[in-house]
Symmetry: C2
Subunit: 350 residues, 2 copies
């Protein structure tokens, strides 16, 4: 599908490696005060004065993390940045810089990479981050994107996964499960397209869940909201692999247990209807779906009045003593152990 | 060849992604004061107080950057770290932390990744750097390694590529061309092995050039030596793509020209004899070979007495006005323009 979109096809080897980097990064602006020297030397130079830094990195591999038959390259560039910024915000930090490395086979013309970088540039502009470096090389097969994100934070503000205490409330931002159901719709349309390429699918009533899959937003707004509400969570993590796997990380590192109420998990109506259509249990999707990039946090009970009624934050359970384990309280008030499946990229691959 | 070396083969999917990361990183020690929180949260947390930071990243792709039929995984892990540290030292900084991401196909058993990480661990120990994070995922084909390295430096000590001035001396550390000739020997042995797998090659008299290819060292010692000699180069870059391409970067960014003396370029006797054996011009190799990870710098003429006679540093030419261009002064005193070929991973690939 990529090939269809581009009238022009410029072979990458025409530019050479340095030419390609110059070409793709020429529009990137530098806005962060901490960026002293960006692309163009052996390394970037940064100055964070008295601030602490957070550093996180992610690798996205074609056919494993994305399928270019239905993911537009511009969206992919945007999402690749979001995946990393989400980890920075999950530390309660401000994202400031990223490096981008790509390996790409010669089946991609220059115009395809321009699309990818246009998405990266849009993300950098909206989230006010500087692209300070990277590496561009060839791959023998598809596209690989490696991003490292850097953020800054006052030492006293860092939020780890390890700070949850018994009786803390478990809070989730936004709603979850949508990105996974969006993926199911896209996968189904891909199969339909194979059989009947002329079919024009009407995806309007899946718009929200498809957007959540293709163009997620990292929740910088939640970090700002928490500051405004004067709530400092006791622990926080972003939901990339699914609620069950993320709450497991918090419980393990905080040495606590948890009770999550099934009927409190925030689901968008499109997720509920898509689950019905696909005949999948919506709680299973919420627990194991992944790629929502919402924030999962624990807050002290005394902070509850500050978040009560806020449409962006939902209390879904509470932290218990470790001995009580991790449990889901079902709609019919049964307590069942939560098993973290999450998303395991090492399974089911060649 | 990898498969032969490992009696035991543990499938990666048995550990899962989190189990794999835990397993591979359990031996990594934290030694840097600036590392506040390492692997195990959404991001690592670092504190550099009043220091500036340098950040650099590199992506290594199987079949493009390395061939596992003759590169032992342990050496590959070591070299992947060196490639990045070399960029940190080229800024005159101290390397402090790295993140490591790998994508790997299921043809690799756990034991192969343990070898790779053993090499990374050795490099981290010797060069006193902390491994603070990373990502582990599957690939549909071979092995991909993405490393981001971080270093610290006082603002006043940073050395850019852009500071060279006319009449400055051009200095190179160690000797160059060896890594490329080591590669030629290894490639030839691979062909011999295909024809006659029982052949036991005697590679003793290629030991130095093969080691330069398989297990290069980043020149931290040169950074320390320069401090001891009280020489602050006016510009510096590491030689990863070949002398001609690196000097071109300095000339371009410093807006100067250069004259390099062919007869001053430091070559190891093994490089000279291998070039004779392969019937290749040794100057061409020195100019375009790459992967030497030596440091190329320019120093003020008044610093010459401080480095004179030092076996680690060789003056190979001088900086000129930009209008005079980039020239090689040949052994017969002809001046020929230097054309930067370097190593272009985007060419000659599928």
């Amino acid at each position: 599908m990529i090939e269809d979109k581009n009238q022009q096809r410029t072979a990458l080897e025409k530019l050479g490696e340095f030419g390609l980097i110059d070409h793709l990064t020429k529009n990137f602006e530098i806005n962060q005060k901490s960026t002293i020297k960006s692309i163009g030397d052996d390394a970037a130079v940064l100055d964070f004065k008295s601030k602490q830094l957070v550093v996180t990195t992610d690798l996205l591999v074609e056919h494993v993390h994305f399928d270019l038959s239905y993911v537009p390259l511009k969206h992919l560039g945007y999402k690749a940045v979001m995946v990393n910024l989400s980890d920075v915000y999950a530390m309660n930090a401000s994202a400031t810089q990223i490096t981008i490395s790509i390996a790409v086979s010669n089946r991609f013309p220059l115009e395809a990479l321009e699309e990818l970088y246009a998405g990266i540039e849009t993300a950098a502009k909206i989230y006010d981050i500087d692209v300070i470096g990277g590496d561009t090389t060839s791959s023998t097969t598809g596209l690989i994107i490696s991003i490292t994100a850097i953020g800054e934070i006052d030492a006293k503000d860092v939020i780890y996964r390890s700070g949850a205490k018994p009786n803390d409330l478990v809070v989730v931002s936004g709603d979850i499960g949508a990105a996974y159901m969006g993926l199911q719709v896209l996968e189904r349309e891909k199969e339909v397209f194979k059989v009947n390429p002329k079919n024009q699918p009407d995806l309007d009533h899946y718009a929200y869940i498809i957007e959540r899959q293709l163009k997620p937003e990292a929740r910088r707004d939640i970090i700002e909201l928490l500051k405004k509400l004067e709530v400092k969570p006791t622990s926080m993590i972003d939901i990339s692999d699914g609620l069950s796997s993320e709450i497991m990380h918090i419980c393990k590192q905080s040495e606590v247990g948890v009770a999550i109420y099934e009927n409190k998990i925030p689901l968008d109506p499109q997720v509920i209807s898509a689950c019905e259509e696909f005949n999948i249990d919506s709680t299973t999707i919420a627990l194991n779906g992944g790629e929502d990039y919402e924030l999962l946090m624990t807050i002290s009970q005394e902070d509850f009045p500050k978040i009560k009624g806020n449409p962006n934050l939902t209390v879904i359970g509470y932290i218990t003593e470790k001995a009580r384990g991790m449990n889901l309280i079902t709609r019919d008030e049964q307590s069942v152990p939560i098993i973290a499946k999450g998303w395991n990229s090492l399974e089911n691959q060649e």
